[in-house]
């Protein structure tokens, strides 16, 4: 059994290698050159990160006592987080609506299939393209960002959700169906609570995803930290870009920790009270 898995992975790896070799037509020399370029670029242009991005901007005058709150890094990051926050919540609710109409164990096939096609249509445009569309239609700014991300979130979360729903044990569905609970009630009172663990982790994942992508859609003018990144890129201030990237990384890690905490309320792991530092800090005693 172990050997078979090993064999399959080896074959896949070989296949990927072959394909890559075909793609680049055997020109591996560029990779070596690239590595050299990267180290030069990194040491000369990006290192050290320029932490002026977390100091107050020269203009407008800082009114807060703490300089950080007037910095490009903080303001940009906060706008990105806010955009991601709103879009994730709106998208989550929209996704629940569609996913409950796309899961084959909840609705008949003739409903599920069109809804699935709709979801994959929404998903087939990356959030960057949605952002460009909305910037064209309603102009620059965070509203475009919110709408772009909401759309993408619906498509993406919707798929994750209906697959989760389809994977659930059907005995609770059967019991409630036989009892005569209406569909809406089954969704709200059986399906959603039973999958709350997965739904929450998907929600947190999507939030993190949207924060990360907030950097990209900012580049096309849909608000957030990406605006500053693209400006610094334009003016070749790579040290500042690097500092902002580190900031994003820190935020993503924090979201991940948050997600772990939130989920511990609903999964089985949360039942075992292990003496972690979190429990020690949060315990009532």
């Amino acid at each position: 059994m172990k050997y078979r898995l090993f064999g399959i992975i080896s074959i896949l790896l070989l296949l990927a290698w072959q394909t890559l070799d075909g793609l680049i037509e055997g020109d591996w020399g560029r990779l070596e050159g690239g590595l050299g370029n990267l180290s030069v670029f990194f040491s000369e242009s990006m290192w050290p990160p320029n932490w002026s991005v977390i100091e107050a901007r020269p203009y407008p005058v800082c009114e807060s006592e703490i300089e950080f709150f007037c910095s490009v890094g903080y303001l940009g990051m906060m706008e990105t987080i806010k955009i991601a926050f709103v879009a994730t919540i709106l998208g989550f609710i929209g996704a629940l609506f569609f996913s409950s109409l796309a899961a084959r164990n909840l609705v008949p096939l003739y409903v599920a299939i069109p809804v699935r096609i709709l979801l994959s249509a929404i998903r087939s445009l990356p959030s960057l393209i949605w952002a460009i569309l909305f910037v064209i239609v309603i102009g620059f700014g965070p509203l475009s960002g919110v709408l772009a991300m909401t759309f993408y979130t619906v498509g993406y979360l919707g798929k994750l959700q209906y697959e989760t729903f389809e994977g659930m044990a059907n005995d609770s569905l059967e019991a409630s169906r036989a009892m005569g609970l209406p569909r809406s009630s089954i969704l709200l009172n059986v399906v959603i609570p039973e999958n709350s663990n997965h739904l929450l982790s998907q929600l947190m994942f999507m939030f993190e995803y949207n924060v990360r992508h907030g950097t990209v859609i900012g580049i096309v003018g849909a608000g957030g930290i990406g605006y500053y990144i693209s400006t610094y890129l334009k003016f070749l201030q790579y040290e500042k870009v690097f500092a902002l990237l580190i900031l994003i990384f820190v935020v993503v890690v924090i979201i991940d920790l948050l997600s772990m905490m939130v989920r511990s309320f609903v999964n089985d792991e949360g039942d075992v009270r292990r003496p972690t530092w979190l429990n020690v800090v949060l315990s009532e005693k």
Partner: protein, 227 residues
């Protein structure tokens, strides 16, 4: 004359091949029927057919119950929402019966609490079901049906892992329903549980159902012992 809650008319059940064929039986209010038979013979299949979850292979059945909440079903795996609280699960039963009105919340929680108390799990009401023991989970499933007060209750081996004291608690709850005219069809593996509850036994053998009154059943048993 009392109307039957369930009438099986030349019913055959199964997935591709019939497992049990040409069943002609009636069930009246207040009857308690225990289905007995070896593993894999089609007991669950029959009950799921009556619950409307799979189509009959041939024949038909008439279900004389209200569409909403008239039928109660406890699947072999209980069908509880494991991540929700005990009270939430039991309130699902109440939900089917309490229509929209100003004090529906109060009515629902009243029904829920009554059922929880009757089964001795009121102190667990805010625990997630997944934290309960197997026997306690069975009592939650019973409480859900009790809060529903269906006209026909289908239970698939819900006494399974219960010890004697638990069986009595559950028995009392089911008796409470039966006294109100609920008909019960349950699948059991243990003969003694069957005798404790049933008014009739449906014994499945070789794709057929033998309908046996409890009196005859007991006679047969003692007769067997004397031999």
């Amino acid at each position: 004359m009392v109307e039957a809650v369930l009438e099986l008319k030349n019913l055959s059940v199964g997935y591709d091949e019939p497992l049990i064929s040409n069943i002609n039986l009636e069930v009246f209010p207040g009857e308690v029927i225990t289905i007995l038979g070896p593993s894999g013979i089609g007991k669950t299949t029959l009950v799921r057919t009556i619950a409307g979850l799979i189509r009959p292979l041939s024949g038909s059945f008439d279900l004389n119950v209200e569409r909403r909440g008239g039928l109660g079903y406890i699947p072999q795996r209980l069908g509880l929402v494991r991540h929700a609280t005990v009270a939430h699960n039991v309130s699902l039963g109440a939900r089917t019966r309490v229509g929209f009105s100003l004090n529906m919340w109060k009515e629902r929680s009243q029904r829920t609490m009554d059922a929880l108390r009757m089964l001795g799990i009121a102190d667990k009401s805010n625990e997630p079901v997944r934290r309960l023991s197997g026997g306690q989970q069975r009592r939650v499933a019973t409480a859900r049906t009790l809060a529903q007060r269906p006209q026909l209750m289908l239970a698939d081996e819900f006494l399974g892992e219960l010890d004697h004291s638990n069986v009595e608690i559950v028995f009392e709850a089911v008796q409470n329903l039966v006294d109100d005219g609920t008909a019960v069809i349950m699948i059991e593996h243990h003969d003694d549980n069957a005798q404790l509850f049933a008014t009739r036994i449906w014994e499945i053998q070789d794709g057929k159902i033998a309908d046996i009154s409890i009196k005859e059943w007991k006679n047969r048993k003692t007769g067997g012992e004397e031999e």
